[in-house]
Symmetry: C2
Subunit: 373 residues, 2 copies
């Protein structure tokens, strides 16, 4: 068999991620590789940290990108904070809350599940009730923007309730960072993780995380070692922890970090609030346009994300056929439903560089054409 | 503070990795991102698998790149194979054997350490003796090419001994894949991991792994869940396991995989044996040239790697000053010694695209000039 260089088709990426990548980010990824201990690279690391602090709206000293995809950020936050036998309250209203629960169990934690229907936000009164009934719980985990359903939960209120019961707050912001209002410090979030392939317009592969001082205190005072060597924040900090002297932990993914740096500069240039607003306005526009062709959002307006919109698939429309035709005839990717929403919704991403008016027009007219055939 | 795009300096990378990246690989990384479930991407995944099988010289069905750096490949192999309470024999003759030991402990395993001096190969008679004395041991782990010292161990013989005692064999080939003779199937290695940033001429960030049928059988029949969600091969196989239907596990690092695909095509074009030979010949040339300026390899010839050569730092020469001048005056990176070899050796990498005659001449003359000042 002969192998040829892979020349990817040009896609319009309007699924749940990756979103389209800004050309400046793609170009940055192809710059010359240098060493992970090169003084010039250490300067870049400092800038990435400062830019991530800006994107997360935090002064947390411990803010860095985990060298692996978003789910590893989730595992990094949980595996460092949880010691075997600890009860952890976890809100499950979609795939990613469920994934948190699985990881909590693998860490030896005892998940106390706060369940909500898929496609709805976390019910804050249930959080209050659960924490009141389970005084041993000292960690509360939830998903800010459920990528599997398009529901946005009220991170500020959930965190307030958690703090009332002396919990450390773990928040999944994979799909919200850059796309929804997110204020890590003001909202008192303690361990927050995200991904690069959503509203940051960056290829997948890295997971920005940030830890509060309280979270780091808990990690530093663990009675048992962190079960993962790769994710052990105590070790990673020798490299990412700041200062002129960086000690080798693992070899950082140099070129991916070039891309992240460029993507974060783009966010800084736009302004984080402007980025939130752009996502909100384009999400509203998309929903209005969708209604004109008979498509309705699955999530009710006040709990709906703007950057990832679940659309109910109309009766009699073939889910897989529509998605497949969009891809083959329009080179347009939209997302399928996951889990209990499989076959019931499409997930339309308007994230990062993909969140623009021409994509909205294109997607709506392609959907109309494909469905009317 | 204002942030600018990062324009990395042009370095000659002759440290322990990353090595210089082939321009075709850098270019591939900047191609347009597509979705991780796109049919075109699934075709690419199949090609990456076939090309990795070629590089590893294996027919193992379970062969894929872990979406994180080499150390995560190490943790992936160990965390899947080891159940709590199991004894695991581990050869320690440098940093990476020691890292394996730490991960074995974090998995709840009981390491039985076979220790050798840093800068020497694993003593095979000690392996035999240890396995004979510890009949409960069913996993044997060792490092083929110790990146921290430049010593090459005899993977074929070590595996033969392990098999005599019914062990599964775990091999670290981070620095050997593509650079030293490595025959996964012929040598009966069961769980093998590597990295992209050494002899594959690819940026860091991915860890190719391959598992034998016996290893997969053990993983599928575990009594306890794999403690890591991200690294659980049972889950990852839903995505990488082949067939037309791929189910989402995590979002694959698309553009890094474009780079790996291109790098593996380069290996295929050169021929894996030719790649091994090139590394061997250039390693020999480097050692001969080094002797002419009074520099001697730290590892004896029959145990010496060709792609990563530890050079004894001559008496009275300032380690850090030489490395710093090489970087500032020649834009040349070489590696420092690690652990017990810190300050005693330099580590010179001649890996992948960096393994060529002009680099040898350049490095030798730069070293001569800097040391004679």
């Amino acid at each position: 068999m002969e192998y040829k260089s892979f020349l990817p088709p040009k896609r319009v990426l309007m699924g749940p991620g990756p979103s389209n990548i800004h050309p400046r980010v793609l170009e940055a990824q192809s710059r010359l590789t240098i060493g992970h201990l090169d003084p010039k690279f250490v300067e870049l690391m400092d800038e990435i940290k400062a830019l991530l602090q800006y994107a997360f709206q935090t002064d947390n000293e411990v803010t860095f990108p985990v060298s692996a995809p978003g789910s590893t950020g989730m595992e990094t936050c949980l595996v460092n904070l949880i010691e075997p036998g600890e009860q952890v309250a976890v809100c499950v209203n979609g795939v990613f809350g469920g994934r948190m629960k699985s990881i909590i169990e693998r860490c030896g934690g005892i998940p106390i599940v706060i369940e909500d229907e898929w496609g709805t936000a976390v019910t804050t009164s249930k959080v209050e009730q659960t924490l009141a009934q389970n005084p041993e719980v000292k960690i509360l985990a939830f998903v800010h923007a459920e990528t599997s359903t398009g529901a946005r939960s009220d991170a500020k209120i959930i965190s307030e309730i958690g703090k009332k019961y002396n919990c450390l707050i773990v928040a999944d912001t994979v799909t919200s960072l850059g796309g929804s209002e997110l204020k890590v410090d003001e909202w008192n979030l303690d361990a927050v993780y995200s991904g690069t392939q959503k509203c940051l317009s960056c290829p997948p592969g890295l997971s920005p995380v940030t830890f509060s001082k309280a979270a780091i205190d808990k990690i530093k005072n663990r009675k048992t070692p962190v079960q993962s060597w790769f994710m052990d924040v105590n070790l990673v900090l020798g490299y990412w922890g700041g200062g002129a002297k960086r000690s080798y932990h693992h070899t950082a993914p140099i070129n991916s970090l070039y891309g992240l740096h460029e993507a974060l500069i783009l966010i800084k240039e736009e302004g984080i609030e402007n980025s939130w607003n752009r996502h909100r306005l384009n999400g509203d526009l998309f929903c209005k346009a969708a209604e004109t062709i008979g498509l309705n959002p699955y999530v009710k307006e006040e709990e709906r994300l703007s950057q990832l919109i679940a659309i109910s698939i109309p009766e009699g429309v073939d889910d897989a056929e529509v998605r497949s035709k969009l891809l083959s005839d329009y080179s347009l990717e939209i997302g399928a439903g996951l889990g209990s929403l499989a076959g019931k919704v499409w997930r339309i991403g308007l994230m990062g560089y993909s969140s623009n008016k021409s994509n909205i027009e294109f997607c709506i007219s392609a959907l109309r054409n494909v469905m009317s055939r």
